[in-house]
C-alpha cells in the first residue's frame, strides 16, 4: 500500500488526475471522519472533505515526500474545519439548539441502534464544547492514534502545546461527562418514582 501510494503521489505530482483519484478513493474515509467529528454534520463534512481534496490536488506539487501523506492531508482537513467552525461561530447558533444531526447510516446492525445513536450524541455534545483546535487534537488522538508529534505537525503547533491542550480537553470532557451523568440519574429516578413521594 505504501509503495502504491508513493507511486500515486509521484504520478499525481506530475499532473496525473487518475492517480490523485486513487488517493481520494483511499483516503475518503479518514478525511470524511475527521470532518464529521469536527463539524458534527454530515452535509458540512461532505463539503469539507471535498474541499480538502481539492486543496490537496491544487497544492500536491508542494507536498514533501519526507512527510507522511496522511498527516499532510489531515492537516489540510483540520485547518479547513477549524476555519469553518470559526466562521460558523459568527452566527452564534449553538449546536445544542439545532436538531440532532443523524450520522450517515453506513454501519449496519448494532451501529445503527438507538444506544449507538445515544452514544454518538453524547460524543457530539462532548466535542462541541471544545474549542476547534482542541477538538481537532482530540479527534486525531482518539481516532487516528496519532503521536503528539504527528498531531503537532498537523496543527502547526509545538508538541508541548498539544500535550497541554489534550490534557485540558480530556479533563474538560471528563467533567462534562460527570455533569451529563448527574443530569441523567435524576431523570431516571423521576421516571421510577411514585407520584405520591
Amino acid at each position: 500500500m505504501q509503495d502504491t501510494e508513493a507511486v500515486w503521489l509521484v504520478q499525481a505530482q506530475r499532473g496525473d488526475q487518475q492517480a490523485f483519484t486513487n488517493i481520494v478513493e483511499a483516503y475518503q474515509k479518514p478525511v470524511f471522519n475527521l470532518c464529521y467529528r469536527m463539524l458534527n454534520n454530515a452535509e458540512d463534512a461532505e463539503d469539507a472533505a471535498q474541499e480538502t481534496f481539492l486543496r490537496a490536488y491544487r497544492s500536491i506539487k508542494q507536498y514533501d515526500h519526507n512527510r507522511q501523506f496522511s498527516t499532510w492531508l489531515l492537516s489540510i482537513a483540520a485547518h479547513y474545519c477549524i476555519d469553518q467552525i470559526r466562521k460558523n461561530r459568527m452566527n452564534i447558533i449553538s449546536l445544542e439548539d439545532q436538531p440532532n444531526q443523524e450520522i450517515p447510516d453506513t454501519l449496519p446492525g448494532p451501529e445503527s441502534s438507538l444506544s449507538k445513536r445515544e452514544e454518538q450524541n453524547r460524543m457530539r455534545l462532548l466535542l462541541e464544547k471544545l474549542n476547534p483546535i482542541d477538538r481537532a487534537a482530540v479527534v486525531m488522538y482518539y481516532w487516528y492514534d496519532y503521536s503528539y508529534d504527528e498531531i503537532a505537525q498537523s496543527l502547526s503547533l509545538s508538541e508541548s502545546a498539544i500535550k497541554s491542550r489534550l490534557h485540558r480537553a480530556r479533563k474538560e470532557m471528563a467533567r462534562l461527562w460527570i455533569s451529563q451523568q448527574n443530569k441523567l440519574i435524576p431523570a431516571e429516578r423521576k421516571c421510577h418514582e411514585s407520584p405520591v413521594f
Binding site: K29, A42, E119, K171
Partner: protein, 179 residues
C-alpha cells in the same frame, strides 16, 4: 497532597511508577471527586476508542471528480476574466493617456502648433549657442599657443603615433604570439 497532583497522574499518558500508582489508588479510595474523574475519563476514553470511523455516502470519488471538473472550469473562467479585465483596463488607460495628449490639439490647435514651433526654435538656438561657445574656446586656445609650438606638437603627435603602430605590430606578430 492536593487533587491537582492526582488529576495530573490520572491524565498522564506515560506509565506511572509503582509508587505513583499505589499513591493514586490509595487516594481514589478516599476521594470521591477524583474517583468520579477517573471513572469519567475511562468512560470517555472507551466511548471514543470504541467509536468507528464514519464513512461518506457512496460515490464520494465520483462527486469529487465532478467537483474537480467544476473547479477547473471555474478557475479557467476566472483566468479568462482576469486577463480580459487587465487587457481592457490597460487599453482604457492607454486611451486616457492618449486623450490627455491629443485633447489640447482639439481644444486649441493653433496654440499647440505655436508651442511646437517655439520648441523647435529653442532647440536651434541651443545648438547655435553651443557652436559659438566651442568656436570662441578654440580661437582663444589658438591665439595663446605660437605657430612653432603647434608644429612641434604636431611632430610629437606623429612620432607617438608611429611608436604606437610599431609597438602594436611587435606585440601582435604571430611569432611572438606563438611563444
Amino acid at each position: 497532597m492536593n487533587h491537582q497532583f492526582f488529576e495530573t497522574l490520572l491524565l498522564s499518558d506515560t506509565e506511572l511508577t509503582e509508587a505513583e500508582s499505589a499513591m493514586l489508588q490509595d487516594h481514589l479510595q478516599t476521594c470521591r471527586a477524583c474517583r468520579q474523574l477517573s471513572d469519567a475519563l475511562k468512560d470517555v476514553d472507551n466511548l471514543f476508542h470504541n467509536s468507528a470511523f464514519v464513512a461518506p455516502r457512496p460515490g464520494f470519488t465520483h462527486r469529487w471528480e465532478d467537483a474537480l471538473a467544476a473547479d477547473i472550469k471555474k478557475r479557467q473562467r476566472t483566468q479568462v476574466f482576469s486577463i480580459t479585465f487587465i487587457g481592457l483596463v490597460s487599453i482604457a488607460a492607454l486611451f486616457l493617456l492618449l486623450g490627455f495628449t491629443i485633447l489640447p490639439i482639439f481644444i486649441s490647435p493653433i496654440s499647440v502648433l505655436w508651442a511646437e514651433l517655439f520648441g523647435i526654435v529653442t532647440w536651434f538656438s541651443a545648438i547655435e549657442g553651443i557652436i559659438n561657445l566651442l568656436s570662441t574656446l578654440f580661437q582663444a586656445v589658438f591665439s595663446l599657443v605660437p605657430i612653432s609650438m603647434w608644429v612641434a606638437l604636431t611632430f610629437a603627435f606623429l612620432g607617438l603615433c608611429a611608436v604606437w603602430v610599431v609597438a602594436f605590430k611587435q606585440v601582435t606578430s604571430p611569432r611572438r604570439l606563438s611563444i
